[in-house]
């Protein structure tokens, strides 16, 4: 059984925002909703790093823990999904989520929250797989077609990876080893540069 995860390599991300565009296009996301965003720290300064952030599909998901109507569920692939028919738009998942993943359409009066929308790991939702209803509510179900999330598939520098945690671990390990072994060692090791200064 796979355990699906995202990983964004801060050494590779160039803040091109293509992942966001890909996500919006693939899942037909309306204005004002961003299932994925790129955060840049130390913008324009030495040590600038960018990270593409979306739902991290936590094992112990805080959103699922605090949801008053219990609308979240974890698929066999470890993808955290929610049922929009049950969601009441209270915003508790938004308070609890460390990554700012839950999004709310705010078209109603006083920008009161509509039903929550978030990254589905391109795995659709509880509706029938591949149905029009599933697409309208949750976006495409690429996982069911044997494809990975489009944001990661589109990433030009392969900074954003998506897939089975074991495979990602191996890729990550190889990258770190190769960086450490670099004769130039231009301060791209995780401990020497980046975000933990």
């Amino acid at each position: 059984m796979a355990r699906m995860k995202f990983y964004c390599d801060a050494e590779r991300c160039i803040e091109c925002n293509a992942c966001i565009t890909a996500c919006k296009n693939e899942n037909d996301i309306p204005w004002g909703i961003n299932r994925r965003r790129v955060v840049t720290i130390r913008d324009g300064e030495p040590g600038e790093r960018s990270l593409s952030v979306a739902c991290m599909h936590c094992s112990d998901a805080p959103c699922a823990a605090v949801c008053p109507v219990d609308c979240f569920y974890t698929t066999d692939d470890g993808v955290v999904l929610h049922d929009k028919d049950i969601c009441i738009g209270c915003g508790y998942c938004f308070y609890a989520c460390p990554f700012g993943a839950p999004q709310f359409p705010s078209s109603a009066a006083f920008s009161s929250r509509g039903k929550m929308d978030k990254c589905t790991f391109c795995a659709g939702g509880p509706e029938e797989t591949g149905s029009g209803e599933e697409y309208t509510k949750y976006g495409s179900n690429r996982l069911a077609e044997g494809k990975l999330p489009l944001c990661a598939e589109m990433c030009s520098t392969k900074a954003l990876l998506a897939g089975d945690a074991n495979v990602l671990s191996d890729i990550y390990r190889k990258r770190v080893v190769n960086r450490g072994a670099s004769v130039l060692n231009w301060g791209v090791q995780y401990k020497k540069a980046g975000i933990d200064s």
Partner: protein, 396 residues
């Protein structure tokens, strides 16, 4: 018999044979005897055996699916443990982001509230507060107050008036005060019930209604709570303006508190409101305003307030609400079943003279004095009632 078929040659063999036969006959006879004698106990033993067997079957067979299920769960758990044990490559990265001195705030091309914040550290604190403090301790405080009230009622019963009703009735609450009171009562319970359903519905109502059924209930509760919530501010302000005059603490309140409010017997002096009522009034004003302010921050998310502010507001909101609900049980108890003659002060506006003497003697003396000097006891009331503090409006 096997041994009877045995044939031997020598004497000793013959002898042994005979002995054996004799012995065997004896044995056979014994068995036969035993069979006859033990026929009854044998049947009993058989019956017992089958009883125990059928009992075991009855007890164990229904458990088989559970056992299979437990087995499956255990296997799943082992699988899950294996999965969790594998390192997620993002862990190192996000651990570095979560270091004490790490920069978590940056910029993003996505322009929305908090979009530049890499990690929301307050979220986990808020989750812990809601799930491990608010939900269990809120329920605990409500249950503790309710149970102690029930225990008190069983011990002391309804506190009756020490003297018979005199028939003379004194104006205690004007129409405005009563209106404000019942307005806040209705609003308070509307908001309390909808709020409690949102807080405890997942535990209590989802097993009863199912997730989809409860979703409809919860949506209705959320909408009612959000629409009616802002009105609570006006209710609290009305209560403050109409009741603040008589709710400042005085020296008599200390004595009242020292005597435990007469809970353990004995007479305690009090003005128009006793110390308990004053404490309840100030709790309502302070925590009511806390509820209103935090509620407005939560419901109108149009001012760009972030998650940390909202999580903090929610903490204030939850604590204030559960505290007021818990204390209100005590207020309701004393106003209805706990004391004779109290409820009518809030329904008709009048109390009996003997009630005033028993519970608010200082106020009664003031009112009696006021009636002599024809001073107005309350500016909001009707002129005719104001003219005399004590109105002779006895029952017919």
């Amino acid at each position: 018999m096997l041994i009877t078929r045995f044939t031997g040659d020598s004497d000793s063999q013959r002898f042994r044979l005979r002995v054996t036969i004799q012995h065997e006959d004896l044995l056979d006879g014994n068995i036969k005897m035993a069979r006859v004698n033990n026929k009854k106990s044998d049947r009993v033993r058989k019956t017992l055996f089958f009883c125990v067997l059928s009992l075991l079957i009855v007890v164990t067979v229904p458990l088989v699916p559970y056992a299979i299920d437990a087995q499956a769960v255990a296997e799943k758990q082992i699988k899950a443990d294996n999965v969790v044990a594998l390192p997620n490559p993002a862990i190192n990265l996000w651990n570095e982001v979560r270091q004490r001195n790490a920069i978590t705030e940056g910029s993003s091309q996505v322009k929305s509230v908090d979009s530049g914040i890499l990690i929301n550290k307050a979220g986990e604190d808020w989750r812990r507060f809601r799930m491990e403090i608010l939900v269990p301790y809120g329920a605990f405080s409500m249950a503790a107050v309710l149970l102690s009230l029930i225990a008190f009622f069983l011990l002391r019963g309804k506190m009756l008036l020490p003297e018979a009703r005199s028939g003379k009735r004194i104006l205690r609450f004007t129409l405005n005060q009563r209106t404000a009171h019942w307005f806040i009562v209705g609003l308070f319970w509307l908001l309390a019930i909808t709020g409690l359903i949102l807080l405890y519905g997942r535990i209590i109502l989802i097993p009863l209604l199912g997730a989809e059924g409860f979703s409809i209930t919860a949506t209705a509760c959320k909408d009612v709570h959000n629409l009616m919530g802002p009105l609570f501010l006006f209710a609290v302000l009305a209560m403050f303006l109409l009741f603040v005059k008589d709710n400042f603490f005085t020296g008599a309140d200390l004595k009242w508190l020292a005597k435990g409010g007469g809970m353990f017997g004995g007479h305690v002096s009090a003005g128009r409101f006793n110390a308990g009522e004053k404490i309840w009034f100030w709790l309502l004003i302070i925590f009511g305003l806390s509820l209103c302010i935090s509620g407005l921050i939560l419901v109108f998310s149009i001012f760009g307030q972030g998650r940390e502010v909202m999580a903090l507001s929610h903490m204030f909101h939850g604590i204030s609400a559960l505290l007021l609900i818990s204390v209100s049980f005590g207020h309701i108890y004393l106003g209805t079943v706990g004391m004779e003659g109290t409820l009518e002060s809030m329904t008709t506006g009048y109390v009996d003279e003997s009630w005033a003497k028993a519970h608010h003697d200082l106020w009664y003396e003031d009112m009696a004095g006021a009636s002599e000097t024809t001073e107005s006891a309350d500016k909001n009331s009707q002129a005719g009632i104001v003219a005399s503090g004590i109105a002779n409006t006895s029952h017919k």
